[in-house]
Amino acid sequence: MKLTPLRTSASYSKQPYEIETKELTINNTSKIDALMGIETSKGYRQVIKWLRQKKRKPFSFQQEAWQYYAEGYSGLVNAPTGFGKTFSLFLAVVIDELNTRAEQKTEKQKTSKQKTHSKKKRSSTGLRLLWITPLRSLAKDLARAMTEVCRELELDWLVSVRNGDTPQAEKLRQKKQMPEVLIITPESIHLLLAQKNTSGQFSQLQCIVTDEWHELIGSKRGVMTELAISRIRGIIHQKHPERLLRIWGISATIGNMEQAMDVLVPYPEVLRIIIKATEEKKIVIKSILPDHIDMLPWAGHLGHKLAHKLLPIIYKSKTTLVFTNTRGQAELWYQNLLNLDENLAGQIAIHHGSIDFELRNWIEDALHSGILKAVISTSSLDLGVDFKPVDTVVQIGSPKGVARFLQRAGRSGHSPHEISTIYFLPTHALELVEAAAIKEAAKTQDIESRDPIVMAFDTLVQYMVTIAVGDGFDEQQLYHEVKETFAYHELLPSEWSWLMQFITTGGDSLSAYHEFKKVSKVDGLWKVESRQMAMRHRLHIGTIVSDPMLKVKYLGGGFIGMVEESFISKMKAGSSFTLAGKVLDFVMVKDLTVLVRRSRAKRAITPSWMGGRISLSANLGTILRKKYNETLDKSHDDEELDIILPLFERQAKVSHVPKDDEFLIELIHTKDGHHLFAYPFEGRQVHEVMAALIAYRISRNTPITFSIAMNDYGFELLSEQQLPIEETEIRQLFSPEHLAEDIVISINATEMARRKFRDIACISGLIFQGFPGKYIANKHLQSSASLFFNVFSDFDRHNLLLRQAYDEAFYQQIEEPRLLAALQRIQQSKIIIVKTDRYTPLCFPIKVDSLRENMSSEELSQRIERMTAETEKKATKKFRNKNDHQL
């Protein structure tokens, strides 16, 4: 009998596997024991029989998962993409249900035979499985696959989706009658918890599965997931203490698998296991190389000069996914490919988070059916159900981390044992070294950890109000639930009571907050009584903070997507921009919708959507430094490094190329001022803090102002005056001594904490940002995060949200141990100081970076006078628009 592996994809691999199911269990004696129980069960046999009919067989990790599930375990399933992770858990729940039904049937037959009139139409048995996925686009395909399984196994379960795209009518239907399986996003569970009378809907729940847990764990959305699980668990436990709720996660490989499980299932009394698939994915990585290094710019993030080399790859592949790092970049590449080959019109599409839901749906369907030759996308297609026709993936620009790169690679050739192919297209010259580094990291499986977020008070404030908007909470019970989660296991009773005061009376007991109204006690439970406040809260549930967004619509109807309000505010009637690959003429903004018409213009500006910049991971940084060595020694077989050699020779001529036991400082004097460039190769995040630290240490004795810039390779301190340091003092500047105190002061001296506060103010409900399509103009309640930052700094120093901003800048941003390790490494290194009056290839990408930080030890009034005097000398100067890229 020929059997193929079991997967969620709509169509299946043609390669058959000739192993009999039972053989799997013979290899390993312990596995025989483990699998003994479930194999004899009715549900298992029914599923296996169904699979045989479909000529498929389970992988051993899937069988393991079914067995452990049956034994009441919770845990984590870790398998490469394309090996049927979904079925390892979904079928476990199904088998359990089939077994329960079989038992009930025999019991019924035993006890009473007269009750045979149970032929009424489908009645809901209540929610059994809650399936959390981070991306909306995953839900639809998952639901399709699950529904198919239920139908074929004659299991009368309803599978529904609930997220931001779900129509209101469907949500109401769900409220009346919960489906057995609900596929949901973390935000939507919180919205569910913010409704009245939801607690009754979980009483039949058997299992919560968190899909793509590796994506959630490092973000506040992960914290939302932890909190939601703790609440649902608490609700069930309160009503039915005897019931067992299983909590499972599905994760790609990350550096901290054990911790990932601890975060998801922190409960000591629960049985836990990590199930790891032994199957491996084969990945081929190729770089798209310039013919000569001069073809690539020294800085930039577009890489258009290599676009013509992308075309042959698209031609020869069935379907290509082209990943870019930003939405703006995706728009530009789409235009660029069309300009290069007009015949591609209609065969390529663009997919990102700001494109209208309907349009995205269409693109995803088109990807399934294989009618598209290429799709340009951002992380919006990183995850999810596989698109069968995709056989090639292209990454434009550095992916900054090994895990992300491998994840994207896995989107091609996803049938088990098929090979995934990914091309790396560098956007500037130095990225060639990153390409070589990534290849090595992929080979050695040097995959990053994703550190969980802890003590996010903003998310907790939001969550507490969410529960108060819903059925309300008992203070003690909620505290115990929250305290059990990984994110808040260090929460102190004093912090909890501060949080309670914050949402009930406004502030701590010292500063009276007159007339504050939000959460109050009703019949022993803490609730939000004002309907208006409840509504506003529901609109702002979530932890992804973006600029206010406006919907874009054709004059004649039809939504295209969304753009940031700040971008549109710069547009005049008649000027054009691109969105979803279309050139559009701006007409006007009406009812918070941007009205446009199709443009005849071929070129237009591309909106820039704000988004976080990803930092190079520590793993990659280390390999990168090694690659610098190898390039010069020629002790490598990376073609990328051969190409970059001329640029390195140039750098060596004007300055120096740092080896991994050297630390390079360039002191450059130009008409812009006095620059100090340093190259630790530790990634943007570490550099941001290190730069502030060094700037602070230099400015301690002399009043001086710095403008600070950084990238993944190094950082720049720029001042209008000569830096007051001797060359001999430079090693001392990078000393790890008094690190903790100096960091605190340098963070205070910059805007880092203030910037962190922007998200915190939004998440905790202090300020209201636009919500796509649901923007409410509360003009009289408008304020800014920066204002609140000032207000709390001046009037409420003990505010925990303020402390969180500093903590986030301090712990998350810097990864203190990493900074310490970097400084210690620098102390061991040979320090090379180069003085020159020209920019070098290495410093150039930092110099052109427009995101800058300021640090000053000058007295503000004096600084104003000095700067004013400087401006007068310069006369009128044109400021460039740094975020608009002209095509």
Partner: protein, 212 residues
Amino acid sequence: MTISCSGEELTLNKDRAIYWDRERMLIISDLHLGKSAHFRKHGIQVPATIGLTDLQRLTALLHEYHPEVLLITGDMFHHDLNSDIGMFAEWRRDFEQLRIFLVLGNHDALRDQDYEEMKIEVYKKEMICHPFRFIHDRPEITDTHYTISGHLHPGISVYGKARQQLKLPCFYFGKNMAIMPAFSIFTGLSIVKPEAGDRCFAIGPSKVTQVF
């Protein structure tokens, strides 16, 4: 810092006020009294001390200049009556001799009798006091009067060498009109771009500096 405008001497104070000595008039704009309480009523945690601080700054200015008239060019009260405004009513009793003129702004929505009780003389649209027109938002028409308005909460970006930049609240004096900075510290900034011939005075921690 004292400047000359339409032939009059105006003193720009770093506490976001103008003192017009000839009329013995202290001019401020966008006081937004009650804004913090309004936020609190709607479930947003703003410390009450803010409204108090604004009043304390105002008190200090009154002690510095001893004006006969306090003129507010709009947005004196943020939305409606609340505890912050109660605090103001009490404060008012300490300065009974002071005449208070208010040109209504978009946020001033109290009833006429509320203003009367607090002894505030209300100008619905504008107040002309030669050579100036005091108004909340910039008028559509220009005439011989030089307009002094508020509403915008103006700020200015100061650029220096070596890519340095600062954003500060400012007094803006254009050809036909001036814009006052918002008096309340619980307000944001909207950056103005001065053109040739305009004057801009940035407000620093210890003094006012002409930056344009």
